[in-house]
Symmetry: C2
Subunit: 648 residues, 2 copies
């Protein structure tokens, strides 16, 4: 729990004086407050401020803060009234599908099939809306597939808006507190995911601030919290949690090994500060966290946290788009950049101590274009330390070229179909599943594949979230969707599996089929169900398209285990005979392979002084670190969990 | 402050049952308690237990604890009565000079000029004393020079014995608490003295325990606590202090850069646990700490701590002789070994987690025989990580051979005397001063040197402490003292300077003289006074015989600064012209030079898996680490302050 004494009242007083001098009286300022990483000015007449396009810019320059001007809550029309007016102003051809309000920021979110018509020529319609209803209008394209997750997140933010505003103010006051000392030293401690994959968590510390980058769980080691959870026993982490000194948590992307233990912090009241991440990461991580506890529940385990803890995650998340620069503490400035790994995945860039040092943490990243995403960003304003993943950091970890991988995938599928078999592709609901979908969709459209592709276990819902954030997808896909008007995710070849009965039907059917099901490493989820039933039949095929971590069933099967004891329906253990074909096609990975990792270091601008390799088996982290040192002469380290490394 | 819940009552209950079974009833056990790192059994009839020589050994084996049997306080004779009886029993030829009592351990300390006669044939006299007075007799040779420090320490321990026993019991209960978890990880954090000299402090952490090795102050950087003090702002250290989790502090040796901030912890109630060190280190550090605050006071500064805080250091110190093995927490076992640097200096060996890992921290050490000490111990039962000093770790840091250094010293002295000049040798009161004394004493005795050698600034008192611990001196010196009956420290050529008047007389006298005065780096103390007055006269000589740290006046003069602004008697700044000859003779150093450092790594048994270089300028630590890695293929590190290194 944040417990710092922030004493910003003095600072706010000075700021208010400056604002009163610069903003015309007619704007009628009612309040000036820090809310999250912004300074918010509430006025009764926002138009007065908006008329002068330079006014806010100048103010921001003078105050060195990001500034939002919002209508005073008193002047906002009641939502029903506002909705009515908006519908009158916007032409019906815009096809508004939903209007929702976020009172915590005075925003009205207008979903429309043709967002251009809501905006109007030069933003005319939008301006008119603002003038009439006072709510700040935000226009969103109606997602072609409805996402339950997105709607429930919006409704949480709407219904909890009072708490939310209180929270944002608390955060704002913490960010803009007077620093106790000049920035002096910086270090990072590995709490998890150092020389291993799973439970990623990095604690960055300065003499002023503390932030976590990622807070994951190792789903393959849940029976032992000492291995499954980040190191709660690291003394500096215990201290920071106990004293309420954690300024923020930044999440690189939604996968559970990076975000899966976040709600746990809320369950045990260990944190009530802000979580920074992109909007798609927020949505996807909530989806995966829910899925995670449901799987635990259905396996008869006591879930690590409850749905209401996930709700707290939503309430505490502040989203940032790529490239938005925000102060998150007196000496830390955060920017998220595209990582190319999954939807919304980010490289975290921290500008520390007003230029004392700059760190980028890649999270998981990809450095070639994929069907879904652009390659990871490799240009930063400044960069001294690069913390990079090493999943494929071994000297022989070269992946198959993407087109070859797709060719092999099709081959295996065609062979399997020919012998009337089924193809099971275990894939994380988020990421690989959609990449495979797009590849197969093209082949279905162009090459004539005509067996159904079943999507089971959150994959459909994850896909819905993809369609809601087209601006986070690759240029190609965006073009296809926006300009060619064709959304490949909507191809009818895709059949979401709604429940266990449908799943049973698919398994029992004699027809060939492709099944993409989560989890990707056969640790719980429907993929395990399919595997159990499809494994004994030699006509079937299993295709691994993603990294199989140490300790997972996927890894065992991949390594050749052919007799697997599993708990059957009656609760009894039975031995599953694996007779199906087992294939591994690694070209679909969302992780940079060895070549990409090395080329990232070669191309990243500016050249870092130090590279720290993490997120890989020990030998891969070490190998990558030593190769980078040899090739580029950059100082490298492959630290262990609980190592703390002084950066400055 | 120690705040752990120790719940040892259960453990003690079990132990008492076992003891009751093994010790005969007639011994009349009155109490069984942990006191410091021992289990103490109080009995009304100690003889009963003592009769069976194997009994305590067997008990120790069964209980896996160090065991002391003590007379119940009720049976102890009153001190006056006991003293009377002892004087009756011991023959007058023994020449008892002092008898003091330490009620906290039921000990009577008998000082005699002929200790052998107090012990008697086969310990007969001693046994007789024990039988009559019940106090456990400890016989000590009467030091030939009276040390005020030693007497005041003894009197503190005697007068505070009630508090002391309470303290020892608290410590014992902490040491033998039930560990919360199995030993799992071990790491060290550099709080000070990493890649620098000064403010040495290393925090060793396991998932069960926390100990500090050394807690020094950088006397050359006192104006900036951020550089002068160890890193109180290291989050794990803040945590450990705040939560009262620091199990112990171990002090390698008395120099202020290793022990100088200890009393500060007591001044601010940050610690009330045990300090482990050798008896001479305890005495010498108390002397140096007192000197330190007196110098601060006389310079018009507010001293960092008060005399009563130094008293707390005494009350909290538990002394160990070299080779004594003691549990200091549930998963840490400590042994101190000779380091050859100064009187009582130790290499700290920690056996961690019942064999999980073994660390040795050299502190400052010397690996060739000197006039005063044997070379550092290089043999350990087990050793995986070696943390070693690097003061002379640079590739060119070879010192002059000792005999050559002595020759040069004599040369400079003779030249100076010839031209009627004075020789000023700034030296730390502890260490170099005595080494130079012994060298000059031999030359005076054998070679005919006949100018007075003045000892100023605690040097005489430090010498007194040396004479009180002959068993900590080199074999040669011990032989000279015990068997040849000649103590070189007592040569009449040495003249302690008692006060400022005497000092003035020496300075103003026209006669040549040798002056050995502290501090060794010209940071306060009488050496600075002498320097001010002797510097302008070209007949005089200044000889540096020890390391001059960055930031000290000594370093500046050594580097060639010849005009020095200094505050004169009236408080005005005057510029001192340095016309005296400036010499540096490095062969007297108490630090291993580059050759010794490398040879230590070559010879230390067993060969460590990892060497961590500390306590040296950055380039020296790095150079030494890289040379050790190249030559021995051992993994090395030269960490920064605030780096934390996982050992296991």
């Amino acid at each position: 729990m944040i417990k710092r004494e922030t004493n910003v009242d003095e600072i706010l007083k000075e700021i208010r004086e400056i604002i009163n001098q610069m903003i015309p009286k007619e704007a009628k300022i009612t309040e000036v407050e820090f809310e999250g990483p912004e300074l918010v000015i509430y006025v009764k007449n926002p138009e007065v401020v908006m008329q002068d396009g330079e006014l806010i810019k100048n103010l921001a320059k003078v105050l060195k803060k990001r500034i939002s001007v919002r209508p005073d809550p008193d002047v906002l029309l009641p939502p029903e009234k506002a909705e009515e007016l908006i519908k009158q102003i916007v032409p019906p051809e815009a096809e508004i599908t939903n209007i929702s309000f976020d009172p915590s920021v005075g925003e009205v979110i207008i979903e429309a099939k043709k967002p251009g018509l809501v905006i109007g020529k030069n933003g005319e319609t939008l301006r008119k809306i603002a003038q009439k209803v006072y709510w700040a209008p935000k226009v969103v394209r109606t997602p072609p597939i409805q996402s339950q997750t997105i709607y429930s997140i919006r409704s949480i933010l709407q219904s909890e808006s009072k708490d939310r505003r209180k929270f944002l103010r608390q955060v704002g006051r913490n960010i803009y507190r007077k620093p106790e000392l000049k920035s002096d030293w910086i270090r990072i401690t590995g709490l998890g995911g150092f020389r291993e994959v799973g439970r990623s968590a990095l604690l960055l510390q300065t003499n002023e601030s503390f932030v976590l980058v990622d807070f994951g769980v190792n789903v393959a080691a849940l029976n032992d919290p000492k291995k499954g959870f980040p190191h709660f026993d690291a003394p500096e982490f215990t201290y920071v949690l106990k004293e309420g000194l954690l300024d923020a948590i930044i999440i690189t992307h939604a996968h559970l090994d990076h975000s899966g233990l976040l709600p746990y912090l809320f369950r045990y009241n260990l944190f009530d500060g802000p979580i920074y991440t992109t909007p798609p990461t927020r949505d996807l991580m909530v989806l995966l966290q829910k899925d995670f506890i449901e799987i635990q529940q259905s396996s008869g385990l006591d879930p690590l946290y409850r749905p209401r803890d996930i709700k707290e995650v939503v309430k505490h998340t502040i989203t940032l788009d790529y490239g938005e620069v925000r102060d998150i503490s007196p000496d830390l400035r955060l920017t998220l950049h595209n990582a190319g790994h999954i939807l919304g995945s980010s490289i975290v860039h921290l500008h520390i101590g007003n230029g004392l040092h700059n760190v980028a943490v890649t999270g998981d990243f990809k450095f070639i274009p994929t069907r879904l995403f652009e390659p990871a960003n490799a240009k930063f304003p400044r960069l001294e330390t690069l913390v990079m993943e090493s999943t494929y950091g071994g000297s022989k970890d070269y992946q198959m070229p993407r087109d070859e991988a797709e060719k092999r995938l099709i081959e295996v599928i065609l062979h399997t179909i020919k012998r009337k078999g089924k193809v099971l592709i275990p894939a994380m609901a988020v990421g690989r599943a959609q990449e495979i979908m797009i590849a197969l969709e093209e082949y279905a459209r162009v090459g004539g594949l005509d067996v159904p592709i079943y999507l089971d276990g959150m994959i459909w819902e994850a896909t819905a979230i993809h369609t809601a954030y087209p601006e986070y997808l690759s240029k190609n896909l965006r073009n296809q969707i926006f300009h060619e008007g064709y959304n490949p995710f909507l191809n009818e070849i895709f059949k979401p599996v709604a429940n266990a009965n449908e799943r049973k039907d698919i398994i029992e059917s004699e027809e060939p089929a492709i099944i993409i099901a989560s989890s990707g490493m056969l640790v719980g989820g429907p993929s395990v169900e399919y595997f159990k039933h499809l494994a004994p039949d030699p006509r079937n095929s299993l295709i691994f398209v993603s990294y199989q971590a140490e300790g997972t069933l996927g890894r065992q099967v991949q390594r050749g285990l052919r007799e697997i004891p599993m708990v059957g329906e009656g609760g009894k253990t039975e031995v599953i005979q694996v007779n199906m074909e087992i294939h591994t096609i690694d070209g679909f990975s969302g992780h940079a392979d060895r070549r990409e990792l090395m080329s990232y270091v070669a191309r990243v601008k500016p050249r870092p002084e130090r590279v720290i390799t993490v997120h890989g088996e020990p030998q891969k982290c070490l190998d990558l670190a030593s190769s980078i040192h040899k090739k580029f002469g950059i100082s490298t380290r492959a630290p262990n969990n609980l190592d703390a490394i002084r950066l400055k």
